[in-house]
Symmetry: C2
Subunit: 896 residues, 2 copies
C-alpha cells in the first residue's frame, strides 16, 4: 500500500502542523470544530520531500490520492471537477510549518476552462464567469509559469482605458472576454504552449509549482537567514472555491478577533462587499471597517462574531481570520495566531487569563520579553520610520546598545551637549567613544551615538543604566571632532543637524522621525502580568544601581535588592577628584591616609542615600574596581601637552608639573589594564583604600540603622583569582567592620563575599567559598577572559563581523555563552554550594537582563539576577518564563 500523502481536512488536526503545514492544520481544526469551512484537503509536507527525493516527481500513489480527495470534495459539494455542467473550482496554496516569505502564492479558480466557464456563466452570470477565468489564467501564468505579472495587468488596463469610469466595475462582459483572449495569447507567446484546458493538468502543475517554490531562491535565502531547516518541506492546500464577488450579498474580509494595536477585546479588520479576498488586500477599492458590517449585514456579522469567538476559545489565542461571504453564507478560509504590538500582546494575554480562557501561567508564556522591553522605551512611529527608509535617510547601522528611539541635533562634545540641552534642544551626543567625563552630557541628551565600542563599552553601559537610547560601534560614520561633523557614505552631518537613532535596532537616520512615547505607570495590564510573574518565578530580581535615584527607579520597577553598587563612580565626581588624585599620587602611606580621610565622608554620604532608598532590601556593594590611572588624565593628553610645552619652550612651570604627572601616569600605565592592577589587587596594593570604603559603608549603615532604616549590606570583593587574595582582604575588612560597629554601638546585618569574574575564581570556587558568604558572577569579565575577547576592543574590531559571518551566533557579551562560560558558572555554583551550603549565589553582569541567560541562571539554581533598572520588568517576566518552561515543558504558542 502506498504511503498516505493526502489528508482531507476532516482527517487533520492542529497537532499535525508539521505534516500539514500551518494553513492545512488550521483548515482541519476549523473543519473539525464544525465551522463553515469550504471542503478541502492537504497534500503533506512529506509528499513535498518525497517529490524532491524522486527527482522532481510525485511519489507513487500521491496523484491517485489527490484524485480520490477531489472525488470527496465533489461528493460534498455536489459538483464535479472539470464537469461542463456543474464544475467544481478549487484554490491551490502553499502552507509550510511556519509562514515563510518567498513561498508560492495562491492560485484561485483552478477548474475553469473554455467549457466550464460557460456553465459558470449560466449559474452566476457571464461577467462573473469571465472575470474568474481571466483571474485563473493570469494567476496560473504568473505564479505557476513565472510570466511577469505586469504583462497581464496591461490587458486589464487596456480595457479599463476604454471605459469612462476606468474601474474594474466599469468593465463589460465583452471586455472580460477580450482580456481572457489576450491572456491566452500572451500565455502561448511566452511558453510556446496553450493554457491547459485540462483541469487535472491545471491542478497537477499548480501542486508541482508549490513544491518547487520550496527550493526557490527566495525561500531558500529566507531559511538560511533565519536558520530554518531545509527538510521541513511545504504542504499544498486544495480548497473548494467560494466567491465573495457574487453580488451585494457576497464579500470578503480579513479580521483579528481583538485589536492588534491596543489589544481591545473587539473584532478588528476590514470587509469589502462583492469582492474576492485579493481585492481586500490589493487596495484597489477601499474596504470598510469590519464593525460597519454589523450595520450593513447584521446577520452575517453576528455569525462571524460567533465564529471568531469560537475560534479564539478553541485556539485560546487571538486569531487573524480570512472570511468570505458567498450569497449570504459565511465561509472561513483561514485562521492563525494574529500578530500584535507589544502593548496589545500584554493586554491580550492578561485579558485572556482574566476571562478564564488561559491560565495566568500561560499568559506569562504568551508575552515576549522583548514586548515588555519595548513598552519601557519610546519607539519611532512605524510608518514614519518606513518612509524615512524609503527616502534614503537610513544611513548607517551600529550596535543596538540601549533600546529606544530618539531624535535631536547632533552635538559632538559633552559640554556643548549640556549647553544646548539646557537651552531646550533635544540633543543626540555623537562621540568617537565616551569616557566618564562625558556622563554629564550623556544624561542631558536624548540619545547617544558612538563610532567605536561594543555592547559593554562605557557608552552602552551608562546608556542602559539610564534608559537612554544608544547606538555604539557605528564604524560607518567618520567623526571629525575639530570640524564638529561626521561623514557617512556621501552625507555630511554638521553639529546642529537633526538625526534620529534607534537604540533597539542600531539604525541611524538623517532628519527627524516622530516617536511614540509610552507611559509605564498607566499600563495596568503590565503591572498585573508582572505581579503574576512574581508569583511564579524562583529567581530574585535585583538591580545594578550606583545612585539613590537609580535605586528608587529600580525599586518602583520591582527590584528586590541591589546586586551591584559600583563605588568607583563616586570617585569620578568633580568635587572629589583632587582627593582621589592626591590619594593615587601619594608618595607614602601617611600622605595617602590623609587623602583617604578626605574621601571618607563623601563615600559615607553616598552609601547613606543608597541604604535609605533600599530600606529593608539587600544592598551589595562592590569595592573599588578600575585601574587607578583611570582617575588621572590620559597618557596621550599629557604627552601632547608636554611635547607642546617642550617645543614652544613657554611656561616651564606648567611643563614641570605636567611632566611629573606624566611620569606618574607612565609608571602606572599598563598594556592590558583589564588584566592589570585593579579589583582586589588595588585593595591589596594601596594600603588603606578598601579599609576607607568599608569604614564609610559601615558608618553609613550604622547611621541609617539608628534612624530606623533596615540595612542589609553585603561587601563584595572584585577580581579575585586566588583564595589568598580574598582571605587577606576579607580578614582585614571584617576587622574594620567590627571596629566601626563597636564604635557606633550598632549591629548591622552584613556579609562579605566575592565576585566570580576570572576563570580561575570559578575553577577554585570551592576554596573561595571558605571565605566568601556569597558569590556574584561577574559575567562581563568572565566572558572577556574565557574567550580572550577584550570588551573595550573586540566588538568594534571583529566581533560584529563574527556575528555577520556566523562565526558566532550570538554576541557573548549580550547573551551568556552557556557552553563555555556557562560551564564555569555551573562548576562554581556546584562547588561553592558543596563547600558552603547556604552560600548566596547571584549574577550582576550585563547578562542579568537577558532572557536566554536568565533561563540558564534559573537552571543552574542561582538565587537572583541583577540588571539595569530598566531591565528589571523584563527580568521578572523572563524569570517566570524560565520557571514555567522547566516546570512543565510549555511551548511558546507564538513561537510556532
Amino acid at each position: 500500500m502506498a504511503e498516505k500523502w493526502v489528508y482531507l481536512s476532516s482527517e487533520g488536526s492542529e497537532d499535525m502542523r508539521a505534516l500539514l503545514g500551518g494553513k492545512g492544520a488550521g483548515l482541519a481544526e476549523m473543519t473539525n470544530a464544525g465551522l463553515p469551512v469550504p471542503p478541502s484537503f492537504t497534500v503533506t509536507t512529506e509528499a513535498c520531500l518525497a517529490y524532491f527525493r524522486e527527482g522532481n516527481k510525485f511519489p507513487p500513489g500521491m496523484w491517485d490520492q489527490v484524485k480520490e480527495a477531489v472525488a470527496v470534495l465533489e461528493e460534498q459539494t455536489g459538483k464535479k471537477f472539470g464537469d461542463p455542467s456543474n464544475p467544481l473550482l478549487v484554490s491551490v496554496r502553499s502552507g509550510a510549518r511556519m509562514s515563510m516569505p518567498g513561498m508560492m502564492d495562491t492560485v484561485l479558480n483552478v477548474g475553469l476552462n473554455e467549457e466550464t466557464v460557460e456553465s459558470m456563466a449560466d449559474q452566476a452570470g457571464e461577467r462573473f464567469a469571465y472575470d474568474s477565468y481571466r483571474r485563473l489564467i493570469s494567476m496560473f501564468g504568473r505564479i505557476v509559469k513565472r510570466i511577469e505579472g505586469e504583462k497581464f495587468e496591461e490587458h486589464l488596463d487596456r480595457q479599463k482605458a476604454k471605459t469612462e469610469g476606468g474601474r474594474d466595475v466599469d468593465l463589460t462582459v465583452d471586455m472580460f472576454k477580450q482580456i481572457v483572449a489576450d491572456h491566452k495569447e500572451l500565455y502561448k507567446a511566452e511558453l510556446g504552449e496553450e493554457f491547459p484546458d485540462d483541469v487535472w493538468q491545471q491542478l497537477g502543475q499548480a501542486i508541482e509549482a508549490v513544491f518547487a517554490s520550496w527550493f526557490g531562491p527566495n525561500a531558500t535565502t529566507y531559511r538560511r537567514l533565519n536558520n530554518l531547516p531545509d527538510d521541513w518541506g511545504t504542504a499544498v492546500n486544495i480548497c473548494t472555491m467560494v466567491f465573495g464577488n457574487m453580488g451585494e450579498d457576497s464579500g470578503s474580509g480579513v479580521a483579528f478577533t481583538r485589536n492588534p494595536i491596543t489589544g481591545e477585546n473587539k473584532l478588528y479588520g476590514e470587509y469589502l462587499i462583492n469582492a474576492q479576498g485579493e481585492d481586500v488586500v490589493s487596495g484597489a477599492r477601499t474596504p470598510m471597517p469590519i464593525a460597519e458590517l454589523q450595520r450593513v449585514n447584521p446577520e452575517i456579522y453576528e455569525q462571524f462574531e460567533e465564529v471568531a469567538r469560537m475560534l479564539e476559545r478553541h485556539y485560546r489565542e487571538m486569531q487573524d481570520l480570512e472570511l468570505t461571504v458567498e450569497r449570504g453564507k459565511l465561509w472561513m478560509l483561514q485562521t492563525r495566531t494574529g500578530k500584535r504590538t507589544a502593548r496589545a500582546s500584554v493586554k491580550i494575554a492578561v485579558d485572556l487569563a482574566n476571562e478564564g480562557i488561559i491560565s495566568r501561567e500561560e499568559a506569562l508564556t504568551r508575552v515576549f520579553t522583548g514586548d515588555v522591553d519595548a513598552l519601557l522605551h519610546p519607539m519611532f512611529d512605524p510608518e514614519a520610520k518606513e518612509s524615512a527608509k524609503e527616502d534614503g535617510n537610513h544611513v548607517a547601522t551600529g550596535l543596538n546598545a540601549s533600546p529606544g528611539a530618539a531624535t535631536g541635533v547632533a552635538v559632538f562634545d559633552s559640554d556643548r551637549a549640556m549647553e544646548r540641552a539646557e537651552g531646550g534642544e533635544d540633543v543626540i551626543l555623537v562621540r568617537p567613544e565616551t569616557s566618564p567625563d562625558d556622563v554629564g552630557g550623556m544624561l542631558l541628551s536624548k540619545g547617544v551615538l558612538t563610532q567605536h565600542g561594543g555592547a559593554t563599552s562605557h557608552a552602552a553601559v551608562v546608556a542602559r543604566g539610564n534608559n537612554l537610547p544608544c547606538v555604539v560601534g557605528c564604524e560607518e560614520i567618520r567623526i571629525n571632532l575639530p570640524g564638529r561633523r561626521f561623514t557617512v557614505n556621501s552625507h555630511e552631518v554638521n553639529e546642529g543637524d537633526i538625526i534620529s537613532i534607534d537604540g533597539s535596532t542600531g539604525e541611524v537616520f538623517l532628519g527627524a522621525i516622530p516617536t511614540l512615547e509610552v507611559d509605564l505607570e498607566e499600563n495596568l495590564e503590565l503591572a498585573e502580568l508582572l505581579s503574576w510573574a512574581d508569583d511564579v518565578r524562583q529567581l530574585g530580581v535585583y538591580t545594578n544601581a550606583d545612585y539613590p535615584r537609580d535605586a528608587q527607579v529600580a525599586r518602583s520597577f520591582g527590584a528586590e535588592g541591589i546586586g551591584l553598587c559600583r563605588t568607583e563612580h563616586m570617585f569620578f565626581e568633580e568635587s572629589r577628584r583632587p582627593a582621589v588624585v592626591g590619594m593615587i599620587m601619594a608618595r607614602n602611606d601617611e600622605e595617602r591616609a590623609k587623602y583617604l580621610e578626605q574621601l571618607l565622608p563623601y563615600q559615607r554620604e553616598d552609601f547613606e542615600g543608597i541604604f535609605e532608598a533600599m530600606d529593608g532590601l539587600p544592598v551589595i556593594i562592590r569595592l573599588i574596581d578600575p585601574p587607578m590611572h583611570e582617575f588621572l588624565p590620559s597618557r596621550e593628553s599629557l604627552l601632547e601637552e608636554v611635547v607642546r610645552l617642550r617645543t614652544t619652550g613657554e611656561n616651564p612651570e606648567e611643563l614641570a608639573e605636567k611632566e611629573e604627572m606624566l611620569s606618574v601616569v607612565e609608571s602606572m600605565w599598563e598594556v592590558n589594564p583589564m588584566m592589570g592592577l585593579r579589583g582586589c589587587r588595588a585593595g591589596l596594593m594601596y594600603p588603606g583604600l578598601t579599609e576607607m570604603q568599608v569604614r564609610a559603608i559601615f558608618q553609613a549603615a550604622c547611621n541609617q540603622t539608628r534612624k530606623g532604616v533596615v540595612v542589609k549590606v553585603e561587601v563584595m570583593i572584585p577580581l579575585v583569582s586566588h583564595l589568598n587574595e580574598l582571605r587577606e582582604e576579607v580578614s582585614k575588612l571584617r576587622a574594620v567592620a567590627q571596629e566601626v560597629m563597636q564604635e557606633e554601638g550598632v549591629e548591622v546585618e552584613h556579609k562579605f563575599g566575592t565576585m566570580i569574574e576570572t576563570p580561575r575564581a570559578a575553577l577554585t570556587a570551592g576554596e573561595l567559598a571558605q571565605e566568601a558568604e556569597f558569590f556574584s558572577f561577574g559575567t562581563n569579565d568572565l566572558t572577556q577572559m574565557t574567550f580572550g575577547f577584550s570588551r573595550d576592543d573586540s566588538e568594534g574590531k571583529f566581533l560584529i563581523e563574527y556575528l555577520e559571518r556566523g562565526i558566532l551566533e550570538v554576541n557573548p557579551f549580550q547573551s551568556l555563552d552557556q557552553e563555555g562560560v556557562g560551564q564555569l558558572v555551573a562548576q562554581a555554583v556546584r562547588e561553592g554550594r558543596e563547600a558552603r551550603e547556604d552560600i548566596e549565589l547571584g549574577i550582576c553582569g550585563e547578562h542579568g537582563g537577558d532572557p536566554d541567560s536568565i533561563d540558564f541562571f534559573h537552571r543552574v539554581g542561582l538565587a537572583y539576577v541583577s540588571c539595569s533598572p530598566f531591565r528589571v520588568p523584563v527580568a521578572r517576566l523572563a524569570a517566570a518564563q524560565a520557571a514555567l518552561r522547566h516546570e512543565r515543558q510549555i511551548t511558546h504558542v507564538r513561537d510556532l
Copy 2:
C-alpha cells in the same frame, strides 16, 4: 608503662629519622653497620613535643630512661657518669629531622666537675683535663645559659697575652686552672648560682636547653621562612666523649667521600692533629688536607678510607663525615649526605651508577634539574660574588628571568650597545623594557637588565631563547634615558660603568665579578646522564625555535622536534618592514595581496632553513599571532612627532604623512591588545594573510622534500576560542596546502591543529578536536586569562609583591598553576582525546621547561613538552624524573 622516649643508637635506624632526627638516625645507622661510633643514645623528637605539652617539663618516664641509657653507656665504656675515679663524659647535641640553623649547638665534656676533672688529670694529664673542663663551663654557660661568649673568650685571651707565643698551645696548666676559676666566677656573677657540680644536673639542663631552642626565635623564624612545620620537634643526642686532643696520635677531621667540587672519586677534607672537632672548624690552626693523613698516619687513613667506602655503599650516596682519632683509634661522629656543586652532582650520580652502587634510574633522581641548568650557564665565581656582597656592591634584585652571570659596561640604547659590542666591549643592555627593535642590541650584549616587565616579558622571552643572562622587573633602579644613567638607592651608574648581573638569582651588582664558564660539550657525564633520561622518559622534548640556528642548537641539546616556531619574528626584520607595513595599511584586498606577494618569498626562505635544520623531525609552525599594530610605529612616538611638527609648523609634508600613519595606528589601537585582534582573529579579518603563510610553508616543504629533506610539518592556529574560528581557518588553509602540493607535485606529511590558550578553548576542547589533529597548550596566555593577570604588566605591578607576601607561592608564569590552569589542561586533554583518539597533545608555553610543570604534564599524559633550546637538557632530565616518580614513588634522597 611509660612511652619509650629514649633510644640507644643500636635500637635506631635510618627509617627513624622523624623520631630520632637526622643526627640520631645517622649514629644508629653507623652503629648497626658495625662502624666505630662512640656509644650513644638519642632522646626522641616525641619527647621534645611532650616536653612542651607538659608545660616545659620532661614527660613522665623520660628522665628515668635517660638514666638507664647512661647506665648502658657506662657498661659499654667501663666508665661511670660522675664517678670521681673513672668518669664517663658525654656530648649533648640537637638533631632535628632536617639540619636547621638556629638550633642549639653542641655541649661537650658533660660530666666534668671539680672531682672528675682530677681523675681525668690522672688519666690524660692535668693540662688536657683543665682544658676540657674550661671548655665545658664556657660551652654550658654560653649555650645552655646564654651568657655572652665574648666574656668567656676574654679569660682565655687574658692568659694568652701572658705567654710569649700567644697561642692555645702556649698556655700552661696553671693558666687553664685560672681560666676555669674565672669562668666559674663569671658564671656565678651572671646567673647568681654556682656552675653545677652535679653531673646529672649538667645533663638534664643541657637536654632542656636543646628542647627550648626549638622554639627559640632563630629556629622559629627559619621554619616560618622555609615553610616547615612546628610540630616536628628536635631530638637530643647524648654521645660518649672521644678526644682528638690527646696528643700527636690523636686528631679530628671532616671529610667528604668524594670531591664535592669536581665529583672526583677521592676522599676530600681536612684533618688536624691533636685537636677537637671545633678546632678544625674555628680556623685557629690550619688543618692539613685529608690526603696528607695517608703520609702522616697511613694506618688511620686506611681505616678511615675503609669506613668512608662502607658508609658510601651503605647510604648509596656521597657522605659528609666527622671523625676523631683518640690515641690511634678512629671514631666516627657523624655522617650525612654531602652538599656538592652542580658539576659534582652530575659526576657523582653517574659514577655511582657506573660503579654499580645505584641504578641508572636512581642516578636520574639524584641530580637536581637546577644543577643541569647551572651547567648550561656561566656563573659568578662564588667567592668573588660573596666578597662583592660584603663590599656593598649588591645594589638591587629583580626577577631572575634568564639564568647565567654576566659582567659588562652598562649601555642604555640598543644601537650604542651594538656599536660598543662590535668595538670589543662586553655590554650589559639596560632598558626600561625591551621591544622588538632592541633585539639586535640584545643579541650582541652579554646580559640584559630591565626596569619593568615580568618573567614572560619580551626581554625575558628573547633572553631565554638566546641563553642570555637577564634580570627584568628590577623596579629599584630608576633609568634616566636622556641622561644615559640609572640610579639605585644612592648610587648612580652612568653609561660605560661596569655592572654585573646574575640572571639565575636576579641580583644586580656594581663593578665586575669574574665568571666561571662551563663547556657543555666536554661534560661527558652529563651527556651520559641525559641519555639515560631519554631511556626512561615518556614525554617527548621539543624546542621553541624561530630560526634555523636556534633549531640546530636545540637539536644538539637533544630536542626531538620544534613545538613552536613563531612566524611573526620573521615580520620584524628590517628588510621586510615596508611590505609588512604596506600589507597592514592596505586600503583593499587587492592592495594587500600585492604586499603579501612580496612577503611570500621571505617566509618561504625562513621555513626552508628551519625544515633543513630539523630534517626528519616534526616542526610545528604557529601562524601569525600578535596584533598587527605591533608592526607599526608606536602610538606615543607618532603622537609626539605630530604634536611637535604641528607646534613648530615646519615640514607640513612630513606632518601630513605622520598624521596619516597616526590615524591608522589610532584606528587599530586597542585598550587590551592581548585580548584583541590577534591570533586566528587576524587570520580571519585580513584576507590572504594566513593563506600566504601556509602557501610559503608548503612551498618550502615541497622544495626541501625534493632535495631529500624529510619534512613533517604541523600548522598551528593560535588564540582560538570557538570551533567556528578554527573550522573556517582550517578549511581555508587545507585548501591552500592541497593546492600547493598539487602545483608542486609533492606530498608532504602534515597536520593542522590549534593552540589551546584561551579558557574557552580548553572548556570546549572536545569540539575543537573535530577540526584539530593536534593541540598545543599555550600555557602563557592560558595562565594570563585564567588568572586575569596581564603578562606584560602584572609582574612589575603586583605579582612580585604577591610572591613576597606569600599571597602566591609560586609565579604562575614560571611554574604552572596546577590547581586552576591545570584543571583546564586536564579537562582539555581528556575531552580532546575522547573526541579524537590519536590527537597529538603537547605544550609550548614557558612552562615546558619548568620541572614541576613537566611533572604535571607527564601526569596528564601529554606527548611532549616544548621549551627554549637551552632548557632542553633540563626538560629531558625532568621528564625522566617525572616518569620515575610516578612509576614507583622514589623519594629524592637529597631532599631529605
